[in-house]
């Protein structure tokens, strides 16, 4: 298998819903007028609490000058993107879990995970790259993309495993299981002009789509995610939002596009934590349950096909039993596990 360190150099930011307004102009241009922008990697995920934005350097330049004064919190590290391939294909999230996510968690390296309809990206801090490549070298041929070419990375294997003793998995976070169904779909960029008005509302003006609060809705998760990476678009949205789109513009050809969600934590799971992705991805991968994983600034979201939902609950309930703690208790991240 090959591991490619892509050319993108990313920043990860969050904005509270109440602070989004001054940023919408920049985000719309990046998301919906991409042919006018030089950005190649853009991801935008919102929940009822916050908006997580992942931008490459060109996208970052498109933000207002005073972004932080206007309420944006920008994570201090630059993040690099790992993509695993098997032959010419995407390796799949199960392989990514076993061969990237679990080894990095065991090594105590913090990651940010972003599935798309085409592939699964693992983001690592730029400063962690030497440790990351050393950790993953046993499983992969490692290449770095430089100006469109894949250049092999030489790794000093003599250091391999030195830090293994430091690894300590993140605390087990309580899981939450929203009741709504999600659609995970890809879009052709030339479809955007036909659905710009719908995307505007669903992505950037969620208040125009909010359902009336009911007892049922309170168990739902407000969640929309949109990524536009190298001209390929992935969209995750509540199936109830499909009626905001013109007919036949969003592909909904079978039940296999319907997904359920598992949320990890109900508060900031911490950038310094490691093993957060692994604690969900590992048990599901061990049962070959496909997942679509989206890290955000505050919470991690795992999507599972509805057809696998019962198996998912069974697998995760065993994990919950092992966890030996009250389901409703929120556990503070253990800062002593931080990677410094």
């Amino acid at each position: 298998m090959e591991l490619h360190i892509l050319e993108h150099r990313l920043r990860v930011a969050t904005v509270k819903r109440s602070d989004l307004l001054p940023f919408i102009g920049s985000l719309i241009k990046l998301a919906l007028l991409h042919e006018t922008s030089k950005s190649k990697f853009f991801s935008f995920t919102h929940t009822s609490r916050d908006f997580t934005i992942i931008l490459d350097e060109e996208g970052f330049k498109a933000l207002p000058d005073q972004a932080e004064k206007m309420g944006m919190v920008i994570q201090s590290s630059a993040w690099l993107v790992l993509e695993a391939t098997a032959g010419n294909d995407d390796a799949g999230m199960t392989t990514v879990t076993r061969n990237i996510i679990v080894p990095l968690a065991d090594r105590g390296l913090s990651i940010f995970c972003l599935s798309t309809c085409q592939t699964d990206y693992v983001l690592v801090r730029e400063e962690d790259l030497p440790s990351v490549t050393q950790c993953l070298a046993p499983q992969f041929c490692v290449f770095r993309e430089i100006e469109g070419n894949s250049e092999p990375v030489t790794i000093d294997r003599s250091q391999n495993g030195v830090h293994e003793a430091e690894a300590k998995r993140a605390i087990m976070y309580p899981l939450h299981f929203p009741t709504n169904n999600f659609l995970v779909t890809s879009l052709q960029p030339d479809m955007i002009p036909k659905i710009t008005s719908s995307l505007l509302q669903v992505l950037f003006y969620p208040e125009t789509c909010d359902p009336i609060e009911t007892e049922t809705s309170s168990q739902k998760e407000q969640f929309v995610s949109y990524s536009l990476i190298d001209d390929r678009i992935s969209l995750v949205l509540d199936v109830d939002l499909l009626d905001r789109f013109p007919d036949n513009c969003i592909c909904v050809d079978s039940a296999k596009e319907r997904w359920r969600m598992v949320n990890t934590g109900v508060q900031n799971t911490g950038f310094e934590e490691c093993g957060i992705v692994a604690q969900i991805a590992e048990p599901l991968a061990s049962e070959n349950i496909p997942i679509f994983y989206l890290s955000t600034f505050l919470t991690d979201h795992t999507l599972v096909p509805e057809t696998e939902w019962n198996r998912t609950l069974t697998v995760l309930s065993h994990r919950e039993e092992c966890q030996d703690q009250d389901d409703g208790v929120i556990v503070e991240p253990n800062i002593s596990t931080s990677v410094s």
Copy 2:
């Protein structure tokens, strides 16, 4: 004829092109997602220099909290809207000029003029309203719209004409005649979702539409205007921008939609000036040349049908001769004519 003082209470603001980014989110919602907003009066005009925004109180609330710190200049007065009707019809700009614009100019009252495809609005300062109604009472039955009803306004005619001696017309500004052709068209609100992507670019991301600078383009005026007032949309744009829109979405059925432009002044014509509209509108009205008039914060723009262009130039050249000054000289507004 009837003069209606409408219920809208407006604010007039300007943003430099370089400062627009943090406001785009609010403006897009007001302009393109109007069914999600309570605003009833929104107008947005941009030139290469600035963006002029006219908002009612609901629209004003939609701006970011720190609008002025982010670079928006908001004119201090509230403005009220006058609309003249003859029977059930719009009175027409020629009538509006003779019976509103010229009398108010003679009385020394400053106005802001906004033509739409349906009607022509004259905006006056709220504090000037007693003087305005007194001045216009001889020509009109005056009504004030209150909660959807037209209530007659009683005017103390004994005071009429008291200030007439104070009136002094604004200095004559040099005129400029850009070489481009404009389209003036109305749009149905239900058309917006089909052309949202095009409108986004043309209205809010003009840098994505800028032509390559050539000797010819330097004599053109970058100008787009969009108003959404009581669910009726008017759009003015350079005919060269039509190729940004999907086919058959913008009505271009005949040459009568093609207009040429006269600009008054090349700098801030001043909110304290009066008679700026009149100095163009009066001579053209006297020749029954139809006009579409748009005041902006910095400059005033008069559109004339292309079929009337030669007559327009003849009429305005007489005005220029009377003015007895070099065409290229920019004359500072004479602040002594201010209305205080």
